[in-house]
Symmetry: C2
Subunit: 195 residues, 2 copies
DNA sequence: GAATAATTTTAATCTGGATTAAAATAATGC
DNA sequence: GCATTATTTTAATCCAGATTAAAATTATTC
Protein backbone atom coordinates (compact mmCIF):
# COMPACT_ATOMS: atom_id res chain seq x y z
CA UNK A 1 0.00 0.00 0.00
CA UNK A 2 2.70 2.49 0.98
CA UNK A 3 4.99 2.72 -2.02
CA UNK A 4 8.21 4.64 -1.73
CA UNK A 5 10.69 5.79 -4.32
CA UNK A 6 13.16 3.43 -2.70
CA UNK A 7 10.95 0.44 -3.50
CA UNK A 8 12.92 -1.20 -6.28
CA UNK A 9 10.19 -3.43 -7.66
CA UNK A 10 7.69 -0.63 -7.82
CA UNK A 11 10.11 1.83 -9.39
CA UNK A 12 11.33 -0.65 -11.98
CA UNK A 13 7.82 -1.50 -13.08
CA UNK A 14 6.87 2.15 -13.15
CA UNK A 15 9.87 2.86 -15.34
CA UNK A 16 8.85 0.10 -17.72
CA UNK A 17 5.39 1.55 -17.82
CA UNK A 18 6.66 5.00 -18.71
CA UNK A 19 8.77 3.63 -21.54
CA UNK A 20 5.84 1.59 -22.84
CA UNK A 21 3.62 4.65 -22.68
CA UNK A 22 6.18 6.82 -24.47
CA UNK A 23 6.38 4.25 -27.23
CA UNK A 24 2.61 4.13 -27.60
CA UNK A 25 2.21 7.88 -27.58
CA UNK A 26 4.92 8.32 -30.19
CA UNK A 27 3.65 5.56 -32.43
CA UNK A 28 -0.10 5.83 -32.08
CA UNK A 29 -0.62 9.37 -30.91
CA UNK A 30 -2.12 10.38 -27.61
CA UNK A 31 -5.78 9.90 -28.39
CA UNK A 32 -4.91 6.77 -30.32
CA UNK A 33 -3.44 4.99 -27.33
CA UNK A 34 -5.70 3.57 -24.70
CA UNK A 35 -4.43 2.50 -21.32
CA UNK A 36 -5.05 -1.02 -22.51
CA UNK A 37 -2.44 -0.55 -25.26
CA UNK A 38 0.13 0.40 -22.67
CA UNK A 39 -0.95 -2.37 -20.32
CA UNK A 40 -0.76 -4.97 -23.09
CA UNK A 41 2.92 -4.23 -23.64
CA UNK A 42 3.55 -4.91 -19.97
CA UNK A 43 1.32 -7.99 -19.88
CA UNK A 44 -1.04 -6.29 -17.47
CA UNK A 45 -4.63 -5.17 -17.30
CA UNK A 46 -5.43 -1.52 -17.93
CA UNK A 47 -6.73 -1.17 -14.40
CA UNK A 48 -3.36 -2.25 -13.01
CA UNK A 49 -1.77 0.94 -14.28
CA UNK A 50 -3.75 2.88 -11.70
CA UNK A 51 -1.59 1.30 -9.06
CA UNK A 52 1.33 3.28 -10.44
CA UNK A 53 -0.34 6.43 -11.61
CA UNK A 54 -3.38 8.47 -10.70
CA UNK A 55 -4.78 8.73 -14.22
CA UNK A 56 -3.87 9.00 -17.88
CA UNK A 57 -3.04 12.67 -17.58
CA UNK A 58 -0.43 11.89 -14.95
CA UNK A 59 0.99 9.16 -17.15
CA UNK A 60 1.58 11.69 -19.90
CA UNK A 61 2.95 14.18 -17.42
CA UNK A 62 5.48 11.70 -16.09
CA UNK A 63 6.53 10.78 -19.63
CA UNK A 64 7.20 14.44 -20.28
CA UNK A 65 9.13 14.89 -17.05
CA UNK A 66 11.28 11.96 -18.06
CA UNK A 67 11.83 13.48 -21.48
CA UNK A 68 12.86 16.70 -19.76
CA UNK A 69 15.29 14.87 -17.49
CA UNK A 70 16.95 13.10 -20.38
CA UNK A 71 17.37 16.36 -22.25
CA UNK A 72 18.79 18.13 -19.24
CA UNK A 73 21.21 15.34 -18.38
CA UNK A 74 22.48 15.19 -21.94
CA UNK A 75 23.04 18.90 -21.93
CA UNK A 76 24.73 18.83 -18.52
CA UNK A 77 27.16 16.23 -19.73
CA UNK A 78 27.85 18.05 -22.98
CA UNK A 79 28.60 21.28 -21.13
CA UNK A 80 30.84 19.44 -18.69
CA UNK A 81 32.83 17.69 -21.38
CA UNK A 82 32.73 20.09 -24.33
CA UNK A 83 35.65 22.24 -25.41
CA UNK A 84 33.84 25.16 -27.00
CA UNK A 85 30.31 26.11 -28.08
CA UNK A 86 30.30 24.07 -31.25
CA UNK A 87 31.75 21.04 -29.52
CA UNK A 88 29.10 21.29 -26.80
CA UNK A 89 26.31 21.47 -29.39
CA UNK A 90 27.61 18.37 -31.12
CA UNK A 91 28.05 16.45 -27.91
CA UNK A 92 24.63 17.43 -26.68
CA UNK A 93 23.02 16.19 -29.87
CA UNK A 94 24.97 12.97 -29.77
CA UNK A 95 24.24 12.24 -26.11
CA UNK A 96 20.58 13.08 -26.43
CA UNK A 97 20.12 11.04 -29.59
CA UNK A 98 21.99 8.17 -28.03
CA UNK A 99 19.44 7.98 -25.23
CA UNK A 100 16.46 8.62 -27.51
CA UNK A 101 17.34 5.75 -29.79
CA UNK A 102 18.87 3.44 -27.20
CA UNK A 103 17.91 1.18 -24.34
CA UNK A 104 16.57 3.95 -22.15
CA UNK A 105 14.26 5.12 -24.91
CA UNK A 106 11.94 5.82 -26.38
CA UNK A 107 11.44 9.35 -25.17
CA UNK A 108 7.99 10.87 -25.56
CA UNK A 109 7.46 13.71 -27.97
CA UNK A 110 5.84 16.56 -26.09
CA UNK A 111 2.84 16.83 -28.38
CA UNK A 112 0.10 17.08 -25.83
CA UNK A 113 1.34 19.63 -23.35
CA UNK A 114 -1.84 21.72 -23.77
CA UNK A 115 -4.06 18.94 -22.52
CA UNK A 116 -2.16 18.54 -19.27
CA UNK A 117 -3.80 20.03 -16.22
CA UNK A 118 -2.66 23.60 -15.52
CA UNK A 119 -0.04 22.90 -12.84
CA UNK A 120 1.50 20.10 -14.87
CA UNK A 121 1.31 22.05 -18.09
CA UNK A 122 3.05 25.04 -16.54
CA UNK A 123 5.73 22.86 -15.04
CA UNK A 124 6.45 21.14 -18.34
CA UNK A 125 6.41 24.41 -20.24
CA UNK A 126 8.91 25.87 -17.78
CA UNK A 127 11.21 22.91 -18.21
CA UNK A 128 10.83 23.05 -21.95
CA UNK A 129 11.53 26.77 -22.16
CA UNK A 130 14.49 26.50 -19.84
CA UNK A 131 15.96 23.80 -22.02
CA UNK A 132 15.53 25.90 -25.14
CA UNK A 133 17.04 28.94 -23.47
CA UNK A 134 19.98 26.89 -22.32
CA UNK A 135 20.58 25.64 -25.83
CA UNK A 136 20.49 29.18 -27.15
CA UNK A 137 23.05 30.24 -24.57
CA UNK A 138 25.34 27.49 -25.79
CA UNK A 139 25.00 28.83 -29.32
CA UNK A 140 25.75 32.31 -27.98
CA UNK A 141 28.82 31.02 -26.20
CA UNK A 142 29.98 29.41 -29.44
CA UNK A 143 29.58 32.67 -31.28
CA UNK A 144 31.62 34.41 -28.62
CA UNK A 145 34.41 31.87 -28.55
CA UNK A 146 34.52 31.86 -32.34
CA UNK A 147 33.56 28.24 -32.88
CA UNK A 148 30.14 29.20 -34.30
CA UNK A 149 29.43 31.79 -36.96
CA UNK A 150 27.20 34.69 -35.87
CA UNK A 151 23.52 33.82 -36.32
CA UNK A 152 20.06 34.38 -34.94
CA UNK A 153 20.30 32.05 -31.96
CA UNK A 154 16.56 31.96 -31.43
CA UNK A 155 15.84 30.74 -34.95
CA UNK A 156 18.85 28.49 -35.10
CA UNK A 157 17.83 26.95 -31.81
CA UNK A 158 14.30 26.40 -33.05
CA UNK A 159 15.60 24.73 -36.18
CA UNK A 160 17.98 22.34 -34.48
CA UNK A 161 15.67 21.46 -31.62
CA UNK A 162 12.83 20.91 -34.08
CA UNK A 163 14.83 18.41 -36.07
CA UNK A 164 15.79 16.67 -32.82
CA UNK A 165 12.27 16.61 -31.42
CA UNK A 166 10.94 15.12 -34.61
CA UNK A 167 13.22 12.08 -34.51
CA UNK A 168 10.82 9.88 -32.54
CA UNK A 169 8.25 10.45 -35.27
CA UNK A 170 10.16 8.40 -37.80
CA UNK A 171 12.62 6.35 -35.76
CA UNK A 172 11.14 2.97 -34.94
CA UNK A 173 13.80 1.18 -32.94
CA UNK A 174 15.95 -0.30 -35.68
CA UNK A 175 19.44 -0.66 -34.22
CA UNK A 176 21.27 -0.03 -37.48
CA UNK A 177 19.30 3.14 -38.08
CA UNK A 178 19.95 4.18 -34.48
CA UNK A 179 23.69 3.95 -35.00
CA UNK A 180 23.37 5.98 -38.16
CA UNK A 181 21.29 8.64 -36.45
CA UNK A 182 23.66 9.05 -33.52
CA UNK A 183 26.60 9.14 -35.85
CA UNK A 184 25.33 11.48 -38.54
CA UNK A 185 22.65 13.72 -37.10
CA UNK A 186 24.94 15.84 -34.93
CA UNK A 187 27.15 16.47 -37.91
CA UNK A 188 24.26 17.27 -40.24
CA UNK A 189 22.61 19.63 -37.78
CA UNK A 190 25.76 21.46 -36.82
CA UNK A 191 27.42 21.67 -40.23
CA UNK A 192 25.78 25.00 -40.90
CA UNK A 193 27.09 26.53 -37.68
CA UNK A 194 30.75 26.64 -38.58
CA UNK A 195 32.29 30.04 -39.25
CA UNK B 1 -28.94 19.73 -49.74
CA UNK B 2 -26.79 18.86 -52.74
CA UNK B 3 -23.48 20.64 -52.16
CA UNK B 4 -20.93 20.70 -54.93
CA UNK B 5 -17.30 21.71 -54.95
CA UNK B 6 -18.34 24.58 -57.18
CA UNK B 7 -20.55 25.96 -54.44
CA UNK B 8 -18.57 29.01 -53.35
CA UNK B 9 -20.26 29.63 -50.02
CA UNK B 10 -19.96 26.06 -48.93
CA UNK B 11 -16.35 25.73 -50.02
CA UNK B 12 -15.31 28.99 -48.42
CA UNK B 13 -16.84 28.06 -45.10
CA UNK B 14 -15.32 24.60 -45.27
CA UNK B 15 -11.92 26.15 -45.91
CA UNK B 16 -12.33 28.40 -42.89
CA UNK B 17 -13.27 25.40 -40.86
CA UNK B 18 -10.17 23.49 -41.89
CA UNK B 19 -7.94 26.39 -40.98
CA UNK B 20 -9.66 26.80 -37.62
CA UNK B 21 -9.27 23.08 -37.01
CA UNK B 22 -5.60 23.13 -37.96
CA UNK B 23 -5.02 25.95 -35.53
CA UNK B 24 -6.78 24.12 -32.72
CA UNK B 25 -4.98 20.86 -33.37
CA UNK B 26 -1.60 22.58 -33.44
CA UNK B 27 -2.23 24.67 -30.35
CA UNK B 28 -4.25 22.33 -28.17
CA UNK B 29 -3.40 18.91 -29.51
CA UNK B 30 -5.86 16.51 -31.05
CA UNK B 31 -7.47 15.13 -27.94
CA UNK B 32 -7.39 18.59 -26.41
CA UNK B 33 -9.59 20.11 -29.08
CA UNK B 34 -13.28 19.42 -29.08
CA UNK B 35 -15.47 20.18 -32.05
CA UNK B 36 -16.88 22.99 -29.96
CA UNK B 37 -13.44 24.64 -29.87
CA UNK B 38 -13.35 24.65 -33.65
CA UNK B 39 -16.95 25.77 -33.94
CA UNK B 40 -16.39 28.63 -31.48
CA UNK B 41 -13.73 30.13 -33.73
CA UNK B 42 -16.24 30.16 -36.57
CA UNK B 43 -19.08 31.43 -34.42
CA UNK B 44 -21.01 28.24 -34.95
CA UNK B 45 -22.38 25.36 -32.94
CA UNK B 46 -20.42 22.12 -32.82
CA UNK B 47 -23.27 20.30 -34.53
CA UNK B 48 -23.03 22.66 -37.51
CA UNK B 49 -19.65 21.21 -38.42
CA UNK B 50 -21.37 17.98 -39.38
CA UNK B 51 -22.86 19.79 -42.30
CA UNK B 52 -19.38 20.07 -43.76
CA UNK B 53 -17.78 16.89 -42.56
CA UNK B 54 -18.85 13.41 -41.67
CA UNK B 55 -17.09 13.27 -38.31
CA UNK B 56 -14.02 14.39 -36.39
CA UNK B 57 -11.81 11.80 -38.03
CA UNK B 58 -12.65 13.22 -41.44
CA UNK B 59 -11.91 16.71 -40.18
CA UNK B 60 -8.42 15.63 -39.25
CA UNK B 61 -8.04 13.76 -42.51
CA UNK B 62 -8.96 16.82 -44.55
CA UNK B 63 -6.54 18.96 -42.54
CA UNK B 64 -3.79 16.50 -43.40
CA UNK B 65 -4.73 16.41 -47.07
CA UNK B 66 -4.52 20.18 -47.10
CA UNK B 67 -1.13 20.05 -45.43
CA UNK B 68 -0.04 17.60 -48.09
CA UNK B 69 -1.29 19.84 -50.87
CA UNK B 70 0.56 22.84 -49.54
CA UNK B 71 3.77 20.88 -49.27
CA UNK B 72 3.44 19.49 -52.77
CA UNK B 73 2.60 22.83 -54.33
CA UNK B 74 5.56 24.48 -52.64
CA UNK B 75 7.83 21.77 -53.91
CA UNK B 76 6.37 21.92 -57.42
CA UNK B 77 7.03 25.62 -57.57
CA UNK B 78 10.54 25.28 -56.19
CA UNK B 79 11.41 22.63 -58.76
CA UNK B 80 9.94 24.75 -61.55
CA UNK B 81 11.84 27.87 -60.57
CA UNK B 82 15.05 26.57 -59.02
CA UNK B 83 18.43 26.61 -60.73
CA UNK B 84 20.11 23.66 -59.07
CA UNK B 85 19.54 21.26 -56.18
CA UNK B 86 20.57 23.67 -53.45
CA UNK B 87 18.54 26.49 -54.92
CA UNK B 88 15.49 24.23 -55.10
CA UNK B 89 15.89 23.21 -51.47
CA UNK B 90 16.05 26.82 -50.38
CA UNK B 91 13.08 27.85 -52.48
CA UNK B 92 11.04 24.93 -51.28
CA UNK B 93 11.69 25.83 -47.66
CA UNK B 94 10.89 29.47 -48.29
CA UNK B 95 7.68 28.80 -50.18
CA UNK B 96 6.45 26.24 -47.70
CA UNK B 97 7.25 28.40 -44.69
CA UNK B 98 5.63 31.35 -46.37
CA UNK B 99 2.34 29.48 -46.58
CA UNK B 100 2.68 27.91 -43.13
CA UNK B 101 3.13 31.25 -41.43
CA UNK B 102 0.94 33.32 -43.73
CA UNK B 103 -2.68 33.96 -44.56
CA UNK B 104 -3.35 30.47 -45.86
CA UNK B 105 -2.05 28.96 -42.64
CA UNK B 106 -1.88 27.47 -40.22
CA UNK B 107 -1.05 24.06 -41.59
CA UNK B 108 -1.76 21.07 -39.37
CA UNK B 109 1.11 19.05 -37.99
CA UNK B 110 0.53 15.41 -38.89
CA UNK B 111 0.67 14.14 -35.33
CA UNK B 112 -2.32 11.86 -35.35
CA UNK B 113 -1.97 9.88 -38.54
CA UNK B 114 -2.20 6.59 -36.62
CA UNK B 115 -5.67 7.35 -35.35
CA UNK B 116 -7.09 7.92 -38.82
CA UNK B 117 -9.18 5.11 -40.22
CA UNK B 118 -7.15 2.67 -42.35
CA UNK B 119 -7.97 4.02 -45.82
CA UNK B 120 -7.33 7.57 -44.73
CA UNK B 121 -4.23 6.66 -42.81
CA UNK B 122 -2.77 4.81 -45.78
CA UNK B 123 -3.55 7.66 -48.11
CA UNK B 124 -1.89 10.23 -45.85
CA UNK B 125 1.11 7.98 -45.27
CA UNK B 126 1.52 7.56 -49.02
CA UNK B 127 1.41 11.31 -49.55
CA UNK B 128 3.80 11.87 -46.70
CA UNK B 129 6.29 9.28 -47.90
CA UNK B 130 6.11 10.54 -51.46
CA UNK B 131 6.89 14.03 -50.27
CA UNK B 132 9.87 12.83 -48.27
CA UNK B 133 11.16 10.79 -51.18
CA UNK B 134 10.80 13.74 -53.49
CA UNK B 135 12.79 15.91 -51.12
CA UNK B 136 15.51 13.32 -50.97
CA UNK B 137 15.66 13.21 -54.75
CA UNK B 138 16.18 16.96 -54.78
CA UNK B 139 19.10 16.52 -52.39
CA UNK B 140 20.45 13.80 -54.66
CA UNK B 141 20.15 16.04 -57.66
CA UNK B 142 22.04 18.74 -55.78
CA UNK B 143 24.83 16.32 -55.00
CA UNK B 144 25.03 15.37 -58.65
CA UNK B 145 25.04 18.92 -59.97
CA UNK B 146 27.64 19.88 -57.39
CA UNK B 147 25.57 22.42 -55.49
CA UNK B 148 25.28 20.16 -52.43
CA UNK B 149 28.09 18.31 -50.69
CA UNK B 150 27.77 14.51 -50.65
CA UNK B 151 25.73 13.37 -47.66
CA UNK B 152 23.33 10.73 -46.45
CA UNK B 153 20.19 12.03 -48.16
CA UNK B 154 17.87 9.96 -45.99
CA UNK B 155 19.22 11.41 -42.75
CA UNK B 156 19.65 14.89 -44.13
CA UNK B 157 16.10 14.81 -45.40
CA UNK B 158 14.82 13.66 -42.02
CA UNK B 159 16.71 16.43 -40.29
CA UNK B 160 15.50 19.26 -42.51
CA UNK B 161 11.92 18.05 -42.77
CA UNK B 162 11.82 17.57 -39.01
CA UNK B 163 12.84 21.14 -38.35
CA UNK B 164 10.23 22.27 -40.85
CA UNK B 165 7.45 20.10 -39.47
CA UNK B 166 8.12 21.36 -35.98
CA UNK B 167 7.59 25.01 -36.85
CA UNK B 168 3.85 25.03 -36.10
CA UNK B 169 4.68 23.84 -32.60
CA UNK B 170 6.26 27.14 -31.62
CA UNK B 171 5.04 29.62 -34.22
CA UNK B 172 1.93 31.38 -33.01
CA UNK B 173 0.99 33.78 -35.77
CA UNK B 174 3.14 36.80 -34.94
CA UNK B 175 3.75 38.60 -38.22
CA UNK B 176 7.21 39.86 -37.31
CA UNK B 177 8.30 36.38 -36.32
CA UNK B 178 6.77 35.02 -39.52
CA UNK B 179 8.92 37.34 -41.61
CA UNK B 180 11.97 36.28 -39.66
CA UNK B 181 11.17 32.59 -40.11
CA UNK B 182 10.63 32.84 -43.84
CA UNK B 183 13.77 34.90 -44.19
CA UNK B 184 16.17 32.96 -42.01
CA UNK B 185 15.03 29.36 -41.77
CA UNK B 186 15.88 28.36 -45.32
CA UNK B 187 19.36 29.73 -44.86
CA UNK B 188 19.88 28.09 -41.48
CA UNK B 189 18.62 24.71 -42.66
CA UNK B 190 20.59 24.69 -45.88
CA UNK B 191 23.84 26.21 -44.64
CA UNK B 192 25.24 22.80 -43.87
CA UNK B 193 24.55 21.49 -47.36
CA UNK B 194 27.09 23.59 -49.24
CA UNK B 195 30.14 21.81 -50.59
C1' DG C 1 -43.06 37.16 -51.99
C1' DA C 2 -44.11 32.08 -52.22
C1' DA C 3 -41.66 28.06 -52.72
C1' DT C 4 -37.55 25.61 -52.42
C1' DA C 5 -33.03 24.66 -50.94
C1' DA C 6 -29.07 25.61 -47.82
C1' DT C 7 -27.41 26.30 -43.33
C1' DT C 8 -27.62 26.25 -38.40
C1' DT C 9 -29.47 25.19 -33.92
C1' DT C 10 -31.78 22.68 -30.27
C1' DA C 11 -32.10 18.95 -27.66
C1' DA C 12 -31.35 14.54 -27.27
C1' DT C 13 -28.76 10.05 -27.43
C1' DC C 14 -24.76 7.28 -27.75
C1' DT C 15 -20.21 5.53 -26.75
C1' DG C 16 -15.50 4.11 -26.07
C1' DG C 17 -12.36 4.29 -23.06
C1' DA C 18 -11.15 6.23 -18.39
C1' DT C 19 -11.90 5.38 -13.84
C1' DT C 20 -13.21 2.96 -9.40
C1' DA C 21 -14.26 -0.51 -5.68
C1' DA C 22 -13.94 -4.78 -4.13
C1' DA C 23 -12.11 -9.22 -4.51
C1' DA C 24 -8.32 -12.27 -5.76
C1' DT C 25 -3.60 -13.41 -6.07
C1' DA C 26 1.30 -13.00 -5.25
C1' DA C 27 5.17 -11.59 -2.47
C1' DT C 28 7.51 -10.74 1.83
C1' DG C 29 8.78 -10.64 6.70
C1' DC C 30 8.92 -13.04 10.84
C1' DG D 1 3.73 -21.49 7.35
C1' DC D 2 0.99 -17.41 9.12
C1' DA D 3 0.12 -12.65 8.90
C1' DT D 4 0.74 -8.69 6.52
C1' DT D 5 1.54 -5.95 2.66
C1' DA D 6 2.00 -5.38 -2.40
C1' DT D 7 0.20 -6.12 -6.87
C1' DT D 8 -3.24 -7.37 -10.17
C1' DT D 9 -7.78 -8.54 -11.84
C1' DT D 10 -12.75 -8.58 -12.28
C1' DA D 11 -16.68 -6.33 -13.01
C1' DA D 12 -18.98 -2.34 -12.78
C1' DT D 13 -19.82 2.63 -13.35
C1' DC D 14 -19.04 7.07 -15.28
C1' DC D 15 -18.60 10.79 -18.36
C1' DA D 16 -16.97 14.25 -21.67
C1' DG D 17 -17.47 14.89 -25.95
C1' DA D 18 -18.93 12.90 -30.47
C1' DT D 19 -22.83 12.13 -33.01
C1' DT D 20 -27.78 12.37 -34.69
C1' DA D 21 -32.65 13.74 -35.80
C1' DA D 22 -35.80 17.02 -36.16
C1' DA D 23 -36.98 21.71 -36.04
C1' DA D 24 -35.83 26.48 -36.94
C1' DT D 25 -33.72 29.87 -39.50
C1' DT D 26 -31.61 32.01 -43.42
C1' DA D 27 -30.65 32.38 -48.32
C1' DT D 28 -31.98 31.73 -53.16
C1' DT D 29 -34.83 31.12 -57.13
C1' DC D 30 -38.42 32.30 -60.21
Amino acid sequence: MARQASDTRFELQKGRMLRAAARCFNEKGYSGTSLKDVADILGLTDAALYYYVKNKEELVYLCYLRAGDVGRESMDRAIREGRDGLDIVRRYLRYHLDVMTGERGPIAIMSEIPSLKPEHRDRVLDISRAHGARFESILQRGIEDGSIAPCNVRMTGNAIMGALNWVPKWFRGDAAVAASVVEEFPQILSAGLEP
